[in-house]
Chain length 203, copies 2
């Protein structure tokens, strides 16, 4: 198949061929959800979108970048968390939590993020989270932090962050929903820090 | 309206009129989801089901008992947690967590519980949780434990229990999904205990 070039881009906002970009993202979402992150190649995505693999790399970079683009997150968590990570594991629980809260407390980000969270209950969304978001996004953050056993610690961190998101933003349970940031941090940062650097049961 | 008596009960398992019981439960689910726990009266449920309020009390007891019946939980959390609560707040985090794990680790309970958890993303289910389960089930547990500020502490406990349920049972993220009970307890019981009896920010 040849690349479907759009002569008159429909929205005209991005350079290049927006239909091609959209086709690549649609193919990526479908294949990542069906086959997980490790089971999906750039080559397979390119074939499904009817384009050359080099074009996928050109538009989206490496596979983990394409994965993050396909999730259509309002914020790239790797970029948002980079300063929190660069300062190392001490206090990382509080710094990361403040980043999460600043993203979720922004009303512009709230709805797209709740839409994503809803995907946790359908099989494709579960697979994207379990076999995509965790290995491609969360675990590399744990590795970059220099954690011991990041493959255990990052799912623990995720379990409390997901539960906090559910209670504060989805269910809007008071007093958590209206709690000032500093109170949320006082309560939850010690939990996250313990999961990042505290004792773990020996395997 | 008169009570619709079923002369030949369809399943024949329960004494009395199963159609009446089913009609009361259906009306209760609808009204609790639409109006919350405090906004729903036994009288309104009886009227919606076309029966007398005394019959609702006769079949289901008090409003919180009817609410728990309407949720169709595989286990009544108040009964399951009673021994954990009776021993008081010291160590209650671990005792309650062991009860949660024993219920969720039972494959017979898993599917109905995941169905309920999915309801957290639709408006009726959110209202049932926020304005029903929390005030009618969780907060009384906090009061029975003798906690200081149970209306703050029980939502914190819920946030970690919900996140653990998501990661271990819904998303099945390893190594948490296959972790032995004692490891889960070593990791999560201190978190729950801190939420139950640890310091809180001054309001």
């Amino acid at each position: 198949m040849t690349e479907p070039v759009s002569v008159t881009p429909r929205r005209g906002r991005r350079p290049g061929a927006p239909d091609t970009r959209a086709a690549i993202l649609a193919a990526a979402r479908e294949l990542f959800a069906a086959n997980g992150f490790s089971g999906t190649t750039i080559r397979a995505i390119a074939a499904a979108a009817g384009v050359d693999a080099a074009l996928v790399h050109h538009y989206f970079g490496a596979k983990d970048d394409l994965f993050v683009s396909a999730l259509e997150l309002p914020v790239d968590p790797r970029a948002a968390l980079a300063p929190a990570i660069a300062a190392g594991p001490d206090g990382a629980g509080e710094r990361m939590l403040r980043v999460f809260l600043s993203v979720w407390d922004n009303p512009e980000h709230r709805l797209p993020l709740i839409g994503l969270a809803r995907g946790l209950f359908d099989p494709g969304g579960q697979r994207l989270m379990r076999e995509g978001f965790l290995p491609a996004v969360l675990e590399p953050i744990g590795v970059a932090l220099g954690l011991e056993r990041p493959e255990v610690r990052m799912p623990l961190l995720a379990s409390q962050v997901l539960g906090l998101i559910l209670v504060r933003y989805v269910l809007k349970v008071e007093p958590v929903a209206s709690m000032p940031t500093d109170h949320v941090v006082a309560i939850y940062a010690p939990t996250l820090q313990r999961y990042l650097t505290g004792p773990l049961p020996t395997p």
